[in-house]
Structures are given as C-alpha cells and as structure tokens.
C-alpha cells in the first residue's frame, strides 16, 4: 500500500500541475497547452541527437553542450574553492582577512559577473566559464572550511602523538575528515553552476539549453521555451541526485 502511494502520489501531483498549465493556456493565448508543447517539441525529444543548425539541435545534444560547459566551470570553481577552503579552515587569520570579501562577493548574480568576464577574456566561452566558476565556488569554500574546523580535537591529538608530518596529516587526517563536508559543498556548487549556465548562455547566445531557450523566444516558438525549461529542471534534479548519492556514500564512512 505504501509503495503504491509512493508511486501514485507524485503522478497525481504531476497531473494537477499539467491541469493548472492547461487552464492557464486557455486564458493566455501565447502560452501553449501541454499537448501543443508536446506536438511542437517531440521532434527534439524523439531525435535527441539530430543536428539541423547551430542552435536548432536535438535536446540531448543541447544538454550535452550545456553540461560540458557546466562541468568545466564547476571543476574550475572546485579546483580553486577546495584549496582556498582548506587554507581558510586551518588559518583563523586568513578567515578574518577574507571573510568580508567573501560575504560581499557571494550574493553577486551571475548576470553581473558575465560582462566582467567578457571584458577580461573578450570571448563568450571563457567568460561563461569564469561566471560559473566565480558563482559556484562559494559553497565549496565555505563547506570545506567548516569541515576542517569541525575535525575533532581527538584527530589532531593523534597527528601530534604520532608525530605525523604536515603532508601526512593533511592526506591521512584532514582530507578524509573533511571529505563529507567537501561533497556537500560540491553538491551545492553544482546546483549553482547549473543555474548560472542558463543565464550565461542566454546572454552570450552560445548553443546549449539556455541558448536554445533564448533563440526560440526570439523566434516566437513558445512551446520550445517550455521544453527547455523542463529539460533544465530535469537535468538539475538528476545532477543533484547524483551528487547526493556520492555525498551519502561518504557520510557512512
């Protein structure tokens, strides 16, 4: 019974949401109904790897471009954020030095960083990576820092008593103890990176889910906007689940 409900209740929720969507489409003439959205989008879903033009491509290909870009930006952010987090975690001095800067930079929107990236790099691709990295690294920095601070005194005592070298202490104690926190940070960072990608593609017009969304808006094909929105949501959900899975694996260790 419970398993049946677990399966049915989400379906009922989806059905209700479709109903609201359909109701709204009756009132707003430009908003395509769920059925029309499917009719106009099925080409992109049924031929996910078709390549008809620069932006006119199957949804899987578009998602692939976006994911590659997000992956690169996220890795760049993690590559910067993780060591910075470790440094801030072990040094209260550095934390006090950089905390105000972090607090001010953290709430800045990707839309604000992107023009700066374009000025710095003069091309849209590195500018997008820059915006993703800058926006997504904060949770990595903060969680890694908290993880290092949360290492119990016991483990530090072990390091002292065994006279472990700095390198060994880092590799055998600090990193394993911080790993679960780091992955919480990575998960949040990846979520932000995925939010930023759409904005940056819309502004730079590069092929990808966000770029597609913006082009179809300009071409007045509103059904495709809904297709892009749903794709973004589904992929974001899957990414979060994957990272959550990795995080859960580490928590039990």
């Amino acid at each position: 019974m419970k398993r049946l409900l677990d399966f049915l209740l989400p379906l009922v929720g989806i059905g209700l949401a479709l109903l609201v969507w359909w109701g709204a489409s009756l009132k707003v003439t430009d908003l395509p109904s769920p059925v029309r959205t499917w009719e106009e989008s099925k080409l992109y879903i049924l031929e996910p790897f078709a390549k008809r033009g620069e932006v006119d491509q199957g949804i899987a290909l578009l998602a692939y471009y976006s994911l590659i870009r997000v992956g690169q930006g996220f890795l760049l952010g993690a590559a910067i954020g993780t060591p910075v987090g470790f440094l801030l975690g072990v040094s209260p001095l550095l934390t006090r030095m950089f905390d105000p800067i972090m607090q001010v930079m953290r709430p800045i929107s990707p839309l604000a960083w992107l023009p700066l990236g374009l000025i710095l790099f003069r091309r849209s691709e590195p500018a997008a990576l820059f915006a993703i990295a800058v926006c997504s690294m904060w949770p990595t920095i903060i969680n890694t820092m908290m993880g290092v601070r949360a290492i119990p005194q016991d483990y530090w005592n072990v390091a002292k008593v065994l006279r472990l070298s700095k390198t060994t202490t880092f590799l055998k104690i600090i990193v394993p103890a911080t790993l679960p926190y780091m992955f919480t940070g990575y998960r949040l960072s990846l979520g932000i990176a995925w939010l930023v990608i759409v904005a940056s593609e819309m502004l730079t017009g590069t092929p990808g889910v966000g770029g597609f969304l913006w082009q179809e808006y300009n071409s007045l094909i509103y059904a495709h906007i809904l297709l892009a929105i749903l794709t973004i949501g589904v992929i974001g959900f899957v990414l979060d689940r994957l990272m959550g899975f990795a995080e859960g694996k580490l928590r039990t260790v």
């Binding site: 005592n157 072990v158 008593v161 055998k172 260790v253």
Partner: protein
Amino acid sequence: MAFIEVSGVTKAFPSGAALRPVLRDVSLSVERGEFVSVVGAMGSGKSTLLSILAGLTRADAGTVTVDGELVTGVRRNAAFVFQNYSLLPWFTALENVRLAVAASCPSLTREQQKARATRTLEQVGLGNALSRRPWQLSGGMRQRVAIARAFATEPDLLFMDEPFGALDALTRETLQGELMRLCSSAAKPVTTVMITNSVEEALLLSDRIVPMLPGPPATLGMPIVVDLPRGRTVAQLAHDERASHVRAHVVATLTAALGQRVRRTPPDPNTTLTAAALAEESP
C-alpha cells in the same frame, strides 16, 4: 636523575576573563622501566598533567625532562593511549596501526610496516579483525587496536589516559592482563605513566601509585610504593594483606584530600558523591 623528572609544574586555563588554576607545583620522578599510576577523582586535572608530560600541552611554569632533555613537544619513541580510543574511522584496524609504524619508522618498507602492524594486532588477539573499521569493532576491540598502535612503535615511553575507563568490568580485566603481557614482553623497557580513577586498576598494574589531591588547583600527594611482584591478578589482590594495606593508604589519602576540599568549598553534590564512592571502595 630519574628518567622522567617533573618539577614545579603549574597550569591554569582561561575561563571567561579569569584564569582557572588546574595544577599547582606538581613534582614527580619516574625511573626508567617503571609503571606509575596517577589516581584521582574525575576532573581533578589528571589529564592535563599527562598531556603536559607527553608534550601535548605547555605548562605555565615548571619543567618536564625525559632522559635529561627538556620536553617541548611530543618526543620520539613516546606513545599515547587515549580514553576514547582516537582511532581514525576511515582506516581499518591494520591501517590505523600501520600509520603509527610508518610515522615512527620511516626506514621500513611498506611490507615491513604492515608485517609489524599485523604482528602487534595479533598479540592483542585481533588477528582476524585486521581489515575491520573502528565502527565495526566493540569498545574493547577498539582499545586493543589503540594499544597495539602504541606498542607497534616500540616506545620507551607510554602515556595512558584512563585507557580502560570506557569499558565494562570484564573487558577491562582482560585488557589489563593483555597490557601487562605487552609491557613485560616488550624488547625495550617501557616507562609508563597511567591516569586512572580506579584504585584497583592502579594496584594491579603499577609499581608506584601517586594520588592526585584535588584542588583547584590540584597537586600530587606522596607516591605510594606497591610492594608486590608484577604479574598480579585481581583475585590475588583481593586477599593479599600488603595489597589491602596499600589500597587503604591510597584511599585514605584521597578521601582526606576530598574531605578537606568539601569543608573548604561550598557543598557540591558531585564532590561529596565522589568522596562517598571512594570511601565505599575501601574494604
């Protein structure tokens, strides 16, 4: 000069704006190969004293020397057994011990380190739990790993902070026996300082018992020699006349010190309870 010389050690910890004195003018000497227990009530500053001896904490005043050298940090060839085991949960039992071997004997190859770690774990009866992780082990087994970690480095100095405090009575007794065996079978004589709140445990294991007179600030009483051959058993101690003499002496010293403290300070239910508990232990 004795192997370990403690003279005039004083320590206070900041508590809010004020300083809370913990130790005052503590002096002690321990001979090479000797097993000395510091016995006292919980929270009397025993652990602080031990971490000063081990070089984990700096004293405010006074000096600690080991083998004539001033202690400024954790010494080579010193091992520490913590009450809460302090094993690294991401490593197996074997890896926990091997990490200690690798740190103390970097000249050994990985295989040699592994072999020595395995051998020490086998000595404490954990030959079949080498690849288990700490959370898969019982409290007694965890403390066995911690003891193996200490002995695998072949220390000449061993510090133990209530090593059996968190264990049930039966496990405690088994492990005390294993500790005695490890100490007597070690290649080099091991000088041990153990902290405990159990007079029986001190009686079973040590050559001398030093009562910790509670403060604050706490200080050490006169050492009491346990004039019994090593390799004692709990059953034997229960009936031995010399043992009961030493036991009575230790308990009397501790009770007297606690009594003074109770009279000196406003009544604290915990203190009186501890005094009563100690008195009950006396035969």
